[in-house]
Amino acid sequence: MMEWIVQHFLEKYNFWIAMFIIIIGLTATIVKKNFLKKLIGLSIFQTAFFLWVVSLGDVGRDILTSWGLKTQTPPILWMQAAEKGYIYANPLPHVLMLTGIVVSAATTAVALAIVIRIYQKYGTIEEDEIIEKEMEFERRGVL
């Protein structure tokens, strides 16, 4: 029983935490009606995803096997650390997620620009109010 809990939960605590935050972000994106809140939810989703991937690079030696903690140095080439035999974290997830952060920033910028224009046009950023205003504009033949 204890081994089952340790193997499935405690050794992979980073994935569990990151996945929990991913689900929070995804729920916010889907459920909220306010456009900015959706965008914040998307941002939470993407940030927690970066956390998930970067924690994949966790390859150090176990110091406390029963708790699943590992020790490693950051992936920077440091001659003294290499001589002492320290293990480096896998740098590839870090690098991939740097690019991912750039993409996330660009997506947020484009979405914010569209939200600003929606606010200028409709005066609100709640989805149901916008739909009502669209129907009203259509009835009056404005749009």
């Binding site: 997830p93 939200v115 046009k121």
Partner: protein
């Protein structure tokens, strides 16, 4: 290394270089970016024909970026499927650009023109990049470049396009994030990101739950991007309200390239073995595709706005391609049908969306009920619309007929008879909603007898329905269409017929056999 092996990278790199040069050139002269873009895309078409020739005679091009060997470096792989898709994408981008010159002057304000052409060139760069890359993460980067520029291009129209554009931003970003999430699941199990390397390593870890989860997430992410039913909900609003050039380019090539990602995943990363035996998903894919075909067609019948009808029709056409992919473990003709339909739908739907934009520009009409007597006022456009509609329906000797024939042969070959019925029924449904439009255009009828019947049978008008014909429809240029808009429409319509004849002969056989062998289907036709 031969010169021709540099061409894919030259096409992609020069596209990005060109986009930002156009941004600067816009300060010198407002008209310069369009001509630069057109000239360079013609040059790329020229290069890509050499690439196709090299791939068919000598074999795939493998290009190691920076000299770093895979699996540690990024590799660009161009085989027959890539080269074929690259030529299609470049050609449709050229035709879209020629069409866009006068259309953009009509629909979009003057000061946004330079950035519009820059964004179109960037979206084209992203699409070329997805087509030629051989690395999973690199594909995510180009996917995001193509998607971000598409979000901005749709929002350029302003007005009613803003809320659908925001919807697309959110859903598309979730889709792309799911794609890269799936890639990271696969990376965590195999440790590599290269297509070929992953193909070698994956069979060892098929039972790993991480790999299956990764596969599921990539499929769902790409389904959101390629609007496969039931994840298509962002698409109809977007295609209805976006600028006409953007709609036609996106419906023709943007979605095809997204579907190509799915093809690469199914054939080159995960072999068909995985789909057939480990998770037994091939029939499920076929039934989802059948649902897409029927649902898209049924929804299209209900629509009154022409472009919304074409958008739902695109949902159903994506079902055709997915059906071909789903039937391919059982019969190689399925993949032939899917690959053929990529080209046929690009040509047909591009022509249809361009016709819709032309009708809006000259006459200011969006609603099908207003198309009385259009056949006399705009003869060329209506003739092209009719030919392209026949291609979508599947009349013999048009392009769409060829892909339907291949799919029917595939279903018979695989002994899955329900799909034959689905294909025939969908042909009939396509006939219903396209004939409505053709009927209105050519055989004008007196208005009074029809209106009560149509008004009673329509669902209560929600915001998603078309704007009623009235003052909002009055934006029109009133002048006859310039040649630069009619020429691409007629070119695409004539391609529908020419391709329809070519597909039925033996000419594309070498290309198809190369595509099948490059995608590792051990069967030839």
């Amino acid at each position: 290394m031969l010169l021709v092996e540099h061409f894919p990278v030259i096409i992609v790199g020069l596209s990005m270089f060109l986009a930002y040069t156009m941004l600067l050139a816009g300060y010198i002269n407002r008209r310069l970016p369009f001509f630069m873009s057109l000239a360079m895309n013609f040059f790329f078409l020229f290069l890509s024909i050499f690439v196709l020739n090299h791939v068919l005679t000598e074999g795939p091009i493998r290009y190691w970026q920076g000299g770093w060997r895979p699996p540690w470096g990024i590799e660009y792989v161009v085989d027959a499927m890539n080269a074929y898709l690259l030529i299609i994408v470049i050609s449709i981008v050229i035709l879209g650009l020629i069409y866009s010159k006068r259309n953009v002057e009509f629909e979009i304000e003057e000061r946004k023109h330079v950035t519009f052409y820059t964004l179109i060139q960037l979206m084209a760069a992203g699409l070329y990049g997805i087509t030629v890359t051989g690395d999973l993460f690199n594909m995510f980067i180009w996917l995001e470049i193509a998607s971000l520029t598409a979000y901005a291009l749709i929002a350029v129209a302003g007005g009613r396009a803003l809320r659908p554009a925001y919807n697309y931003v959110i859903m598309g970003s979730i889709g792309a994030c799911l794609y890269i999430f799936g890639v990271c699941w696969l990376y965590s199990a195999t440790g590599t990101l290269n297509f070929a390397d992953m193909r070698l390593l994956l069979p060892l870890v098929y039972d790993n739950k991480a790999v299956q989860m990764g596969f599921a997430m990539i499929v769902v992410g790409v389904m959101i991007k390629a609007y496969i039913f039931p994840l298509h909900l962002w698409q109809p609003d977007v295609y209805t309200y976006a600028p006409s050039t953007v709609s036609s380019m996106m419906a023709s090539v943007h979605v095809k390239v997204m579907f190509y990602i799915l093809l690469r995943l199914f054939y080159s990363v995960f072999t068909l073995d995985f789909i057939r035996h480990y998770i037994g998903l091939d029939l499920v894919i076929c039934w989802v595709a059948a649902a897409a075909i029927l649902a898209g067609s049924i929804w299209a019948i209900k629509q009154r706005n022409l472009r919304r009808m074409l958008a739902y029709s695109s949902v159903s056409q994506m079902g055709y391609i997915l059906l071909g992919v789903g039937l391919s473990p059982l019969s190689p003709w399925g993949l032939v049908g899917a690959v053929a339909h990529i080209l046929n739908h690009a040509v047909g739907k591009g022509c249809l969306f361009m016709c819709a934009g032309a009708i809006r520009q000259q006459e200011g009409l969006r609603d099908i009920r207003d198309f009385e007597g259009l056949g006399k006022k705009m003869p060329h456009v209506c003739a092209a619309f009719t030919i392209a509609a026949f291609s979508m329906i599947g009349i013999p000797f048009t392009a769409g007929f060829a892909s339907k024939v291949f799919l029917i042969i595939a279903s018979l070959d695989a002994s899955q008879y329900p799909f034959v019925a689905v294909l025939l029924i969908s042909g009939l449904l396509n006939l219903v909603y396209f004939w409505r439009v053709i009927d209105r255009m050519y055989f004008a009828r007196h208005r009074g007898a029809d209106d009560p019947a149509e008004a009673a049978s329509d669902a209560p008008a929600t915001v998603q329905e078309a704007a009623p014909s009235g003052p909002s429809n009055s934006a029109k240029s009133g002048r006859p269409l310039p040649l630069s808009m009619i020429a691409p429409i007629l070119a695409l319509a004539s391609l529908c017929i020419i391709l329809g004849v070519i597909w039925l002969t033996d000419i594309p056989s070498p290309l198809i056999n190369h595509i099948l062998s490059n995608l590792r289907m051990e069967a030839t036709i």
